[in-house]
Assembly symmetry: C2
Homo-oligomer: 512 residues x 2
């Protein structure tokens, strides 16, 4: 059994049964092993940003890693942006990068590069296998590292000769890492502070955003009056009817400052202290008012769900119902507004839908109008690396074949990784993509004003996407995905109703 | 004058007058500076791989660098594959990457990453500007580094506050680096060896591939009987009528070994010793027969054109005519063959065309049938990073607006960077793209056999692109590029004749 076969068997034994791939010559033995070792599903992405984004979406939904298969340094770098997003979502990913044979590297042939160095900034762990005998041990360690809290990208570099040389066979999986429980002293500290009555805001990060974590936070808020917010971008959050209606911390600095200003106490549950996404001249990076008392109930690597439950119990907070669903009103009509869009989405979203939101400016106001949608999971671009939307939605659909996926995709961001549509068509995935077609980098038009500049020819050339206009219907059809176009909310409702019943992917270009 | 304005003025003063960009929030002051400082043309790419590939194509044609403008670590990583190709082409590029403000980095907000580390493997030089006062000095140094032989990617990381803070103004350019002349002892050594009569092959790399360098090599070959080959992939080579008809060293290992076997002497002119692109079990990495005498006439950083001229003079080699053009024959008809394709291309290529070839398996046999085409420049993917074709062609067209660009694009590789078509439409560039639509990663089907594996379901799933088939006509039209489809050589001839007369870009899907 060669190293590649041992690797695939080891991964399958460890529960890594899906491989998102875009291989090259140095990965041929791995591919051949996939044909010899049963149990691994292979999914092709036509660009590596699709491959890694799929792995992110899959890992967020499953809680266990998919493998990737990438080709040398350039193949890795094409996938690093979505690995960055996965890193910021704390998604477990086993990132396998093939490379030249160990003895071939010294020839510095055209594809040679420093793969380990390139991988390091987006990885929680990097190892280069040096011999076929090491590959299986390295693979079980990669799985363990990727699933160690809070989760991350474990990169295993596989020189071609470690794949084709005889190995010692597969290794059994290592025991699953145990969650790290937060220190009770901090839970007592938070409880004392909340009992003391100073206005407090609890900021909920990734490991707090389970259904149990959210309900515990909801109990704490009911018992103490504490305000609740999620981080500005969430990796995955259960939402909709029966789940606590909790809004995000706003992206815009001034709004975030206003949101946080009333609270002399901020309690962090699986989150870091709130900071501006970007720095701006004359605006603070630190979003808390100076003097704010910050209590870290649970760090990002600790079990925030459990800490919130412990906090609720320490406060003897009773169980608490979520608000009843409001009476249905008529659907909005006319041109796009974020509020109207949210209403259409809330009404038409199927039960247990997965929403991947990479809508940038069009997506900022969607949490509140979708509080009373059917129960669903909401995923966002967590790392700010443009192009996460469609690939992440694709991976989520692979992970959850019985659920409908709705991808909310800004047009500018969508162009970074439109190749994901082809994988959706290839795999017959039930993904409805809604492209917010405003034919501009709308966010940058705003950011330019925020820095006090007057738009001119250069900024016009760099922020406008309307010459020529992108035709998303043709682009989707070119990759085998049926599509339609609308510029009204009633048209959207009709198209969305069609899309969520479709057998396979569908795309809606929403002109707004 | 803030740092961004000083930077733009410094770049313009140094002759860097084109900026390929995909900016974000941290680059807003740079964009604003582009509107205040005259002289810089801005070209938007809808994905960073387009931006960097454009800079590669521009630099290859101009010999002087374009600037890029990229957004933080993920924006950089999206562009690294084509920076890798630029590095391997020794293309001068001033690679500017915006990043968080210096004081903001410690908050580790979602887009934070280690930009300098990510840039290093593909750069000849990396500097992080630490203050607005440093930016201009760093910029002139970046230009100098990028143009120091053999040329490379100089990366300048620009924290946002260095752009918006007051600076000391622009700096004048540094003197252009002087070419490094090869040691005369090695030229004498090569001359002695050639005079001695042992069969020799001269391998021509990037700095040898000027018109003067090729003619000097042609003289040497005429006087001594030495064989001539270029490296397997060329950054830019003047070809066609009146230029010496020199073939490439084959990509396939066995063919390369056969090509080199008759020569006990190999003379390197701006090239490294020939090595297999990839390692294979039971095949050598080193392509020269053991015992081959290798003479480095000029290293890749030395002036190989001059060294070849010196060698021809040392050998007292007379001037030598290139072969006369053959009598024109009828154009081929019927299904695609590489030979037939080459004949159509040779006949219909306009004078002074620029051919960017990223045709992978479809492109291997095109050098010989195009020896007698009209004079043209031929560019190739030099680094093996998939997706260089259309972006590099786009940048070449920006550099040379009076010349026609023909991009030969494999379909699998083309899907990595199809967004380049939009930039071609936006900028009304005279680029004809021919997509070789074989709906497969054909190269990998061959490579799998080369490693001795039998194709199975996994390899079928990962190498086939025919379910669904990509519709390149729709994809092109979706980005504003008119397109047509053909599956015959006569259809190709008709479409190509139309394309090279078109006002603006055109795409031909050639089913093969």
């Amino acid at each position: 059994m060669n190293g590649a076969q041992a690797l695939v068997q080891t991964l399958v034994d460890a529960g890594v049964t899906t491989c998102f791939a875009n291989p090259g010559t140095s990965e041929m033995h791995f591919v051949s092993a996939l044909d010899r070792v049963p149990g691994m599903r292979c999914v092709l992405g036509l660009a590596e940003t699709v491959v890694t984004g799929c792995a992110d979406g899959y890992g967020r939904m499953m809680g266990t890693p998919a493998a990737t298969l990438l080709h040398c340094g350039p193949g890795l770098t094409n996938g690093l942006a979505n690995l960055h997003n996965a890193k910021r979502a704390y998604t477990p990913v086993v990132n396998i990068v093939g490379d030249h044979a160990t003895y071939h590297a010294r020839y510095d042939t055209p594809l040679t590069s420093d793969v380990a160095t390139l991988a390091a900034p987006m990885s929680c762990w990097v190892r280069v296998s040096r011999h076929a005998r090491d590959v299986s041990d390295d693979a079980v360690e990669a799985v363990r590292q990727s699933t160690t809290a809070p989760g991350g990208v474990a990169t295993l570099v596989l020189p071609a000769d470690t794949a084709w040389t005889e190995s010692d066979g597969p290794r059994p999986p290592l025991p699953a890492p145990t969650p790290v429980r937060a220190d009770m002293a901090r839970i007592d500290d938070a409880a004392r502070s909340l009992r003391g009555g100073a206005p407090a805001l609890i900021l909920l990060g990734t490991s707090a955003l389970s259904e149990a974590g959210l309900h515990a936070a909801w109990r704490v808020a009911g018992a103490t009056g504490a305000a609740l917010r999620t981080t500005t971008f969430v990796a995955r959050m259960p939402r909709g009817r029966g789940r606590p209606p909790i809004d995000r911390l706003p992206y815009a600095v001034d709004q975030a400052l206003t949101t946080l200003a009333p609270f002399p106490v901020v309690i962090l549950a699986g989150a870091t202290p709130p900071a501006a996404f970007f720095a701006y001249p004359d605006k603070p990076s630190d979003l808390c008012t100076p003097g704010t008392r910050i209590i870290s109930l649970a760090s990002v690597g600790e079990d925030a769900e459990r800490a919130l439950q412990d906090l609720a119990d320490a406060l003897q907070a009773p169980q608490r119902e979520t608000p009843p669903s409001p009476v249905e009103t008529s659907l909005p009509t006319g041109a796009f507004t974020p509020q109207g869009f949210g209403q259409v989405l809330a009404r038409l979203m199927p039960e247990h839908a997965i929403v991947m939101e990479d809508a940038v400016t069009s997506g900022r106001g969607l949490f509140v109008p979708t509080f009373d949608a059917a129960p669903h999971d909401w995923l966002q671009n967590t790392g700010g690396a443009i192009g996460g939307g469609m690939p992440t939605a694709t991976g989520a659909a692979i992970a959850c074949p019985t659920r409908r996926v709705i991808c909310l995709q800004a047009d500018g961001a969508g162009m970074y990784s439109l190749q994901a549509l082809w994988t959706q068509a290839r795999e017959r995935l039930n993904v409805v993509t809604i492209v917010f077609s405003n034919r501009a980098y709308r966010i940058l038009q705003g950011e330019l004003k925020a820095v006090g500049a007057t738009p001119g020819p250069a900024s016009q050339a760099l922020f406008s996407l309307d010459d020529p206009p992108l035709d998303w219907v043709r682009l989707a059809e070119g990759m085998g995905v049926p599509a339609t176009r609308t510029d009204t909310m009633e048209g959207l409702a009709q198209a969305l109703a069609r899309g969520v019943r479709a057998d396979g992917p569908f795309l809606i270009e929403l002109q707004c």
